[in-house]
Subunit: 183 residues, 2 copies
């Protein structure tokens, strides 16, 4: 049974066959919005998936010094993906370095703290803009309304990003108001 990364790659390949290089780029965006991997992770994982009979490849003309391989999921690979998607999921530990810092912001002067919050806010605003751009490009696609279409799932995840980033902006504004309240 593959790792989380393996399932991430199966999810990408279920949408569209790709080379390792393409998968590594697709892991930056849009999948990189919630999961990332470099190419040095992708190539060994593809080999493992192939050993397990979950993906297969053919060689296509390419521009690298080594043969260019295009991968696609096998029937067993799609089964594994379907099983994993709805499998029991242990509560995920959260790991958020920004919040970790904000938790200690009482040790610095309010003005310095406000500066930090401004920068955090800018990061959320940037991410929100990216989500909305991707959502806009899906807006005209009728497939985005069909639950068995990849565009549908893409739309829902982007919608989630939008809602949570908006909440984060609201939170930053709340912090700024408190930090700058005259005293």
């Amino acid at each position: 049974m593959p790792s989380d990364l393996g399932h991430a790659l199966l999810g990408l390949l279920a949408r569209r066959p790709s080379t390792g290089y393409e998968l590594a780029r697709r892991m930056q965006r849009p999948v990189g919005f919630f999961w990332t991997a470099g190419h040095s992770q992708v190539y060994p994982e593809l080999a493992r998936l192939e050993d397990d009979g979950l993906v297969e490849h053919d060689e296509v003309p390419g521009r690298g010094p080594l043969p260019t391989k295009r991968y696609r999921p096998t029937a067993a690979g799609l089964d594994a993906l379907r099983t994993w998607v709805v499998a029991d999921l242990a509560p995920q530990p959260v790991r958020d370095l920004e919040v970790l810092r904000l938790w200690s912001l009482w040790v610095v002067e309010p003005e310095a703290a406000a500066g930090l919050v401004e920068r955090v806010r800018a990061g959320h605003a940037e991410r929100l803009a990216a989500y909305e751009a991707d959502l806009a490009s899906l807006a005209g696609d009728p497939a985005a309304l069909e639950p068995d279409s990849p565009a549908f799932a893409s739309r829902l995840t982007l919608e989630g990003g939008r809602l949570t980033r908006r909440a984060a902006l609201e939170w930053c504004d709340l912090m700024l108001a408190e930090l700058r309240r005259p005293r």
Copy 2:
């Protein structure tokens, strides 16, 4: 210069001197809401911080087979914490296994997908309840209004958790509505 974990420990010790064991427990909650660490990480990291002169300890009576050590930050440790809190922060890659699954939810039947979303929703609801419980216990504390008090920073981070989890619940409800819309 210490790792992120080291700064997390300094942040805890700045609030209250503790033994390694206590730090490991405090890393489960409330700090565990956004950063976690097991005791097997804590003990070596404390030794490193002490080598760097950022924390110091004295031995107190305890119940373990080895001497019980109570740690507190040194002046240099508090300086390091202050510097780190407002230091430049690279945009953080997000790693969210739940969203990764939802991104592939188009491969399963809508009813099964809705079941997954229900479970995700329950997790958010549970976390939200924890935030609100902690917020309630801070409600009467006048220190929670003073920007140089730990309670102030605790309140703001909990407020952030509340806002983002509420947004997540809203999102889950949106997904459920779409998955169950008659077709």
